[in-house]
Symmetry: C2
């Protein structure tokens, strides 16, 4: 058993600690959502657009993306995945795990220099429920980083309920968003983006090498949802 | 991205749903804590004893266990690990990962038929902080189940702050305890035990095959603690 608070950093911080809640203004960023016609991508797009963010839904089928965008309103546009990737400043990857690698490999140029927010959960399902799949790269986020060496890859938005995101009667989505990445400037932008959605808070939660457990914890939340008939999310306490 | 609430169970429940908060009375159980002189084991022993539970601290060194028990008061006793295992009804395994397999292998007889609550987090540390170690069995809990085929192995109490557990000025430890296991009767006992500590709630969170991500999420909480100078825990929302 490792106490979470007994492990000290191996090297002392070189600069005085900055306020971790001093986050950048991201209201002007154009957000692309790849896989934006799926329940979670669409739900996230809806919440971000309602908060005032410019959102472009991407899909394999541009026509489906345009139709979904029309349903959402709030200035959301639809496009093919490549066009959504090209036009946005930051992209949320919300495609099924099965299509993750092929899609990202095809968008390396479009996503060069941009922040990529991977929220894919590699899971399998059988008669006993959900279980974690471990990608050879370690996690979906690390697979994205390997396929997109010119992008700024982060991981976030794993633990959201698509039902709550899409429910018009739910005004606040009461949950924390664990944000992982290698560069503080990048994770802070993603934290700020999460914080635009009422009820949500973006909390820094480590480097990409620790993404696998965050991604696969969704298997546990599925068990929680089944046992308690809930739409479970997570809050980090004492933060 | 897999919505947490879109995955339906593969087989419908055969019996009407029971109230998941209808938990057994565990106030009469004698709780052993192996590795009970470490910060987390001792902190947990302290909280359980303060809540009225009979607790026996186990340690490799019976004298150290007795000394630690004396400090805690509230009727806590100290003993060698084997004696603590023999005398208790339920045992919490709070030893360092490095000693986990050898200790459990040596206690197979003492722990036969008993509930074993594994709360060990297999982690490594380097200059970049903590990272997950993946046991060949899948997780520490599955290693325990492999080594203790005659015991009722569960996993819980991974995400607790040893600092908060041991701080006399902290009256409530505001956190949920994810409880994993194969048998509902066993996980409900562990949930009830967690619920005896003020501020804590035991939440069922899946089978042992999904323990690895729960164990290794401690690496992320260590990053949270460092960034926010916090003693982070978790709450499951909407439950």
């Amino acid at each position: 058993m490792t106490p979470t608070d007994s492990a000290q950093p191996a090297t002392p911080a070189k600069t005085p600690a900055r306020d971790p809640w001093d986050l950048p203004d991201v209201s002007g960023l154009v957000v692309g959502v790849l896989g934006g016609t799926g329940p979670q991508g669409k739900g996230l797009a809806r919440r971000l657009a309602a908060a005032g963010q410019k959102v472009i839904l991407g899909s394999r089928d541009a026509g489906r993306a345009e139709a979904a965008a029309g349903e959402l309103g709030d200035g959301v546009e639809g496009a093919g995945n490549a066009e959504a990737a090209r036009r946005c400043d930051l992209v949320i990857v919300a495609v099924p795990w099965e299509g993750h690698a092929a899609l990202l490999a095809s968008l390396r140029e479009e996503l060069a220099g941009k922040i990529v927010v991977d929220c894919v959960n590699p899971l399998g399902f059988d008669g006993k429920g959900a279980y974690a799949i471990r990608p050879v790269e370690g996690s979906a986020a690390e697979q994205a980083a390997a396929l997109l060496p010119d992008s700024r890859v982060t991981a976030a938005f794993h633990h959201l309920s698509a039902v709550l995101l899409q429910d018009d009667t739910v005004e606040r989505v009461d949950t924390d968003v664990m944000v992982l990445g290698e560069e503080r400037a990048d994770t802070e932008i993603v934290q700020a983006l999460a914080g635009r959605i009422p009820g949500m808070r973006g909390v820094y939660a480590g480097r990409l090498r620790n993404a696998h457990q965050v991604e696969s914890l969704v298997a546990n939340l599925i068990s929680v949802n089944r046992r308690y008939r809930a739409h479970a999310g997570l809050r980090v306490t004492d933060v």
